[in-house]
Symmetry: C2
Subunit: 418 residues, 2 copies
């Protein structure tokens, strides 16, 4: 009960602050972002100290090396966060943008303008840089933000949030516009996602388990992000050199991220030409392959894929490979096992390219390019709060405009409805 009242108090405070924040000018917000960047650099040592304590506890608790790497802060990483805040200051402010408008027949002027969403709750796991990113993007788009990070990073997150909040307040951002939840109890998340009265949207950033828990239990509208079981389909008439480069890049360049490929689909007609060299290249790079029975015939190192493999986001150097009889089977496989994130075809056929892009239901559908490009910065948006894999509100990389809503302003001269 105490957790609930604490969270409710913070949600109410954020909701109130959001009303003031919606009126803060772009100039004040930009100056605040720059001051926050400055403060991060000035308080580097304090933040590093706190991070060190988090790292020690995590090591004692047996955290894996890849997770430890995500948790760790360095001077360079803190400078990177500061640079990120400065970049957000340079981006156009979406608030107040006139989206469309017209004069109605009765003389009413109708104008659709962008407004902040209000209060955004971000629930995330072990990466402390999310704290700075989320605060920067939410404030720039005029939203109050409630942060609930993973308990492993609690000291790092609290230090970053504390430094940024103080700098923001000194620069004219309403006190309480940033709420940091420092309870590490699991109940805190459960309470937060039921605060539909005060919170306008919740964005979970993390693994499938976290996201599913939020989707199943939230009464606050959710934007699902980031789970990516992405495929590359090598069509029968693909340029095989291009296909190998793309398929290699999609898997190996950064396997831990959500736009990395998890399953390679190969047209059976080119499997014999394409696969042997491809598999060798993967094995040379340390990739572990789980394949369908046909795939296994091309390399004895291939292990059998189970039903579970097709649906798994490995997030590491594992890959599943399936030979399909045609593009339709590839599209059906993606419909069955994909997470609607990023999907690619490599082909020289106009017909196949068109069919794949028309029929694959995903945020990003590629022809002859690596799925690794699905990213707010790569797409030229200048920022990214996450990649939406749902269809409502935002789909694909979300930047500042995706953190806004709209309202209609209607200006009349006494019109009444007949």
């Amino acid at each position: 009960m105490e957790v609930k009242s604490q969270i409710e108090e913070q949600a109410i405070a954020a909701n109130k602050a959001a009303r003031s924040l919606a009126n803060v000018s772009t100039i004040v917000k930009n100056d605040a972002l720059k001051a926050m960047a400055e403060a991060l650099c000035l308080c580097k040592n304090y933040i590093l100290e706190e991070n060190k304590t988090d790292m020690e506890s995590a090591r004692q608790n047996g955290m894996s090396e890849s997770m430890l790497d995500r948790l760790m802060l360095t001077e360079g990483r803190i400078e990177g966060m500061a640079e990120g805040l400065r970049q957000v200051a340079e981006l156009a402010d979406p608030v107040g943008e006139v989206v469309s408008g017209r004069q109605l027949a009765n003389g009413l002027n109708l104008t659709k303008v962008r407004v902040p969403l209000g209060v955004i709750a971000i629930i995330y796991e072990a990466r402390p840089n999310v704290t700075a990113d989320a605060i920067g993007l939410c404030l720039k788009s005029g939203n109050a933000v409630i942060l609930k990070g993973g308990s492993e990073a609690i000291r790092s997150n609290k230090a970053i949030a504390g430094v940024l909040t103080e700098a923001a307040e000194n620069a004219g951002i309403p006190k309480a516009a940033v709420q940091f939840i420092d309870s590490v109890e699991r109940a805190a998340v459960q309470e937060l996602i039921r605060m539909d009265r005060y919170v306008d949207v919740v964005i979970p950033r993390g693994g499938a388990g976290l996201i599913n828990m939020v989707v199943q239990n939230s009464s606050v509208p959710v934007i699902q992000t980031g789970v990516g079981v992405c495929h590359t389909f090598v069509d029968e008439n693909a340029d095989l050199v291009m296909a190998r480069d793309i398929a290699f890049n999609a898997k190996v360049s950064r396997p831990a991220v959500c736009n990395a490929m998890e399953t390679l689909l190969v047209h059976e007609k080119i499997a014999a030409d394409f696969l042997p060299a491809m598999l060798k290249r993967y094995f040379d790079a340390g990739v572990k392959i789980f394949g369908c029975p046909q795939t296994k015939t091309f390399d004895t190192r291939v292990e059998p894929a189970t039903e579970e493999d097709w649906a798994k986001e490995y997030g590491d150097l594992r890959l599943s490979v399936k030979i399909v009889k045609d593009i339709d089977e590839a599209i059906d496989h993606i419909a069955e096992y994909g997470t609607k994130h990023s999907e690619a075809i490599v082909t020289r056929s106009y017909e196949s390219a068109r069919k794949f892009q028309q029929n694959v239901d995903a945020a990003a559908v590629y022809v002859n390019a690596s799925t690794r490009f699905t990213d707010g910065f790569e797409f030229g948006f200048g920022a990214e709060i996450g990649i939406s894999t749902q269809k409502l509100h935002a789909r694909g990389p979300m930047a500042l405009p995706e953190l806004t809503s709209v309202k209609y302003l209607i200006n009349g001269t006494g019109q009444i409805r007949g």
Copy 2:
């Protein structure tokens, strides 16, 4: 358990049909809509017969006259539904619209296009015309639709859905694109809103109780519609004749709809000039007034307003009236009790108009006009599936574009990420 498997079967069928429907051309969809309109008119007598049975049961169950009026079909109403379908056929198809695009520095072409949401579930109460509206709008925007109407209208809805589905199928719309749930068990709704695996969005249309139940329990993303506790604020320097016309129209022209006013807020400096004639006009029209203590001093017929009155969507000829000391108190009152639907100020002050539109957080914020204009047809959208009172995805009147999502198409020449 049987209800669950029945609903799941229908959801799976709709999901599958949605994939085909996304590929159906605008021409086929438009021809289908016209054929459906034709079929409705041809089967008028059958539908009227079924409606008669619903009406008889409803009367026996003691349904109120206003609800009976909503339930009742006539030849004219059926022709109205048919005309609605023909109008939807005339509207531009949102599917395939290129929203934006650019060429990235690395030569990738990025195109953002509109695509159907997929499967839309509509949960509604006693009005059978929603059945035809929803089917028409969902099919035109390329979405499969699952309909769950109120049990009072089950025979009418089933008849309408049956006639329309048959006509649609004959015209080339995939079988199963329209799913009508004929279970009248309450559990059917509970199961439907947990089908996040197959259903992309649920839109509840009805009273606050239905909407809140869906919001609290759905794992499918929800678009909230229609609950409107709308205010009109008469500023100190308003044109009082205009203010009375607007305030009268907003309450009396159609009190049962969601854009009707529920609370009139009056600046204390003009209360003595404005209220006596205003209250008389309301009483003459049969309006029942619940007022703050100050309001009561202007007319003895005013009854005291309770805390509950400020938050209530009367939906009939009741009105609450409050005298406020300034525009800030009006804005605060709206923030506290409003449902973010439609809010109006009547004023001659530029400063007040700007302040009100900037600070009131609602889908539609009016200056010098009646809140009754919040409507897809009035706004010139040509259609309306409901009025969103939430901030995610769609806000205000929702027409065809609001029933779509987007996807990014990325076309390359072998690009890989460095």
